[in-house]
């Protein structure tokens, strides 16, 4: 069974690496824009004291934007962790199913393919068994 084929993971290509590089460059350009604005306001503040308030507001804006960006990054990472856990579970299920079907094949029974009627039935059976085992073991603890 093609376990890796279950999950469509994009292939690392040169174009994707380039996109990542552009992301990083854009981040630094954004920092440059915000830094330039703050610096320019500080320059003006030396001649007009009231501009210090504008400096404060702009620094606040920088903080807000950086926190927003960081929060997105953290949420994406959390999601990737959950995804990895779910993938691990599904992979384990498919492994068990493959072992079960190998035994059945030894007995001479036909192995279901993805097109046969009971393919998903058996897949769900193994998943539910796994869940029941996990619940029972956690209850015992």
């Amino acid at each position: 069974m093609d376990l890796e084929g279950i999950f469509s993971r994009p292939e690392p290509t040169r174009l994707r690496a380039f996109g990542r590089m552009v992301n990083i460059v854009c981040f630094f350009l954004l920092l440059l824009v915000m830094g330039t604005v703050v610096y320019g306001l500080v320059l003006r503040a030396e001649w007009e004291r009231s501009y210090y308030l504008a400096v404060g507001i702009s620094v606040l804006g920088v903080i807000v934007l950086l926190i927003g960006l960081a929060q997105q990054e953290i949420a994406a990472r959390d999601k990737a962790t959950w995804r990895a856990m779910a993938e691990w579970q599904v992979r384990a299920t498919y492994g068990k199913l493959a072992a079960r079907w190998a035994e059945r094949e030894k007995d001479g029974k036909p192995v279901p393919t993805i097109d046969s009627d009971d393919y998903y039935e058996q897949l769900l059976e193994v998943l539910i068994e796994d869940m029941q085992q996990a619940t029972q073991s956690s209850l015992r603890e």
């Binding site: 469509s8 350009l29 824009v33 610096y39 003006r44 001649w47 934007l65």
Partner: protein
């Protein structure tokens, strides 16, 4: 599959706010760049705009940028586009002598 839901399009208020702030930064960039290019002789003239009037103008024009870009994800790339939008809106306002 919503694997990259934080990268998908769709209007949300946090996105609107982030792009609004970014557009304001772009707007202010157009205002303060002359100060930096003229260093060490920053603009001393009294007709340099008051900061609150600039902020009010930036806030109002950036609303347009924020409304248009509100469906873009909050990434450095998209925020840079919003900043460029704010810069362009300020340039437009200057050409129309709205400031």
């Amino acid at each position: 599959m919503s694997r990259h839901s934080q990268l998908e399009l769709g209007e949300t208020w946090p996105r609107f706010a982030a792009h609004w702030v970014a557009a304001c930064f772009g707007h202010f960039l157009k205002v303060v760049l002359p100060l930096i290019t003229d260093w060490p002789f920053p603009l001393l003239s009294h007709d340099f705009p008051r900061w609150w009037s600039v902020l009010a103008f930036a806030g109002v024009t950036s609303l347009l940028a924020a409304i248009i870009n509100a469906n873009l994800p909050v990434t450095a790339r998209e925020l840079l586009k919003s900043a460029a939008f704010g810069f362009a809106l300020n340039a437009t306002g200057e050409m129309l002598r709205l400031t």
